[in-house]
Symmetry: C2
Subunit: 243 residues, 2 copies
DNA sequence: ATCTGAAATTGACCATCAGTCAAAAATGGA
DNA sequence: TCCATTTTTGACTGATGGTCAATTTCAGAT
């Protein structure tokens, strides 16, 4: 088998893997993990079940592969956000707020899967390789935010005697993911009277940043104006970002 | 069958249900949902599988029942916290921070299950009855916190032009649960350098409350002293609360 | 065009396990 | 002691994740 043939094969294999993942993701979003049936998936992608197992070592590995792709999409958005040149570190961190909201708006299916694999029993059942890949994506997101936090500390926009930078990143991530997860519980949505989840999540993030003492505080600059710049310069696809 | 016999039967039935739930919870914590085997559970509790189904309509219903008990324990702690007479609303809200930390410290297994049932596919598979029971527990927790938020607004400890009270409860819940969930991911724990999760969670909650403008701000009162009072008056069992 | 060995694909098959139900056992009042 | 009722049992079933020997496809050689 010559080299060009090899690359064509690899390309076809990658295309098939993507086909499988796309169908699996849709089925997962529609029916949930417990009702995701591999026989039906094989039927839909028009390959045999045996071929599925050429790509994934188990059902959990398949789901983990979807989570990895989602995390890579998220990391891509975060790295675009990192390139935003706001006029203060507080404006730059706002870019991640939009990036996170954009992720859960554009890829709700991926978000669900991301939540799913956080369950303990998933970690041990997926292949080592994909677990590492997920960790890599998490690391990319972490570093993107971490860089801005460090810049803020260096610039004196954050109090020097506050939380250490890594804990600040952790706090921001926690309030974001926590708000998204809680906001997906119908009971709580009703109790809290939430209609537009994206804006509720962003409000919580904003409160946290103020609590960290991240200057300028939200009342001291025009967040809507920054949103407009972000829409124009970084996330033109974020149509939900009505400003 | 006379009335006393009936009550004895009901008592025995309740005791057996508790036995099943206790074993199931331990197995769930040790092996995860996917490896929770009902044949093995039946063997451990020394009843047949058929008898398990006298108590629960499905495996998901069983897990939901555990979640309900966990939520009731949590609600119990929250209602004890609500009885704390702090010298300000900010001190009173701190009681919930300790209650939440105490819950995940004393009942880590219940916490895991609580997280598990947040997955969409669980909701539809458990019995209506238990889903309602869970909603009831969530409501108890919500109302306990909500009362203090309203008191704070009435007292002017929270800015009148800030988030509406229900959204404040939502924000507090989000940062708490979000921190706990993220803090259980080994990769992120490493990146953020977290060793004592309980204190990291409480730090995040504290930052959020400051961000909400909940007076007195954390720098303006002695949180450690309030912790000492809470330990002495409300949560004597909270040995982790070294103050 | 045809052959051939390697690689890829298949789907019948297997093991596991949630859930069922007819038969057996236990119960409690007469 | 007996009998009707309730409770318990565990063998059985169907569904499904995962395997692998048999088949098909493929690329290069003749």
């Amino acid at each position: 088998m010559t080299a060009p043939t090899q690359t064509r094969k690899a390309r076809e294999r990658a295309a098939r893997e993507q086909l499988i993942l796309d169908h699996a993701r849709h089925m997962l979003a529609a029916q949930g993990y417990l009702d995701l049936n591999l026989d039906e998936l094989a039927r839909r992608v028009e390959y045999s079940k045996g071929t599925l197992y050429q790509h994934f070592s188990s059902k959990e590995d398949l789901v983990m592969a979807i989570a990895v792709q989602g995390m890579e999409l998220r990391a891509g958005l975060f790295e675009r956000a990192a390139a935003f040149r706001g006029s203060s570190s507080r404006e730059r961190i706002q870019a991640f707020s939009v990036a996170a909201a954009q992720f859960s708006h554009e890829y709700p299916d991926y978000f669900e899967v991301e939540t799913l694999v956080k369950i303990a029993s998933f970690a041990g059942r997926a292949s080592e390789e994909r677990q590492n890949a997920l960790g890599l994506g998490v690391g990319r997101c972490f570093r993107a935010v971490n860089a801005v936090v460090h810049a803020a500390l260096a610039a004196g926009d954050l109090p020097a005697d506050g939380l250490p930078p890594e804990r600040i990143v952790f706090a921001i991530a926690s309030v974001s993911i926590g708000s998204e997860i809680m906001g997906r519980l119908p009971a709580l949505r009703l109790l809290a009277g939430i209609d537009e989840l994206a804006w509720t999540v962003r409000a919580n993030q904003c409160v946290l940043l103020d609590g960290l003492g991240w200057r300028p505080l939200s009342r001291d600059f025009d967040m809507a104006a920054v949103d407009r710049r972000l829409r124009a310069e970084v996330f033109p696809e974020a149509t939900w970002l009505q400003v």
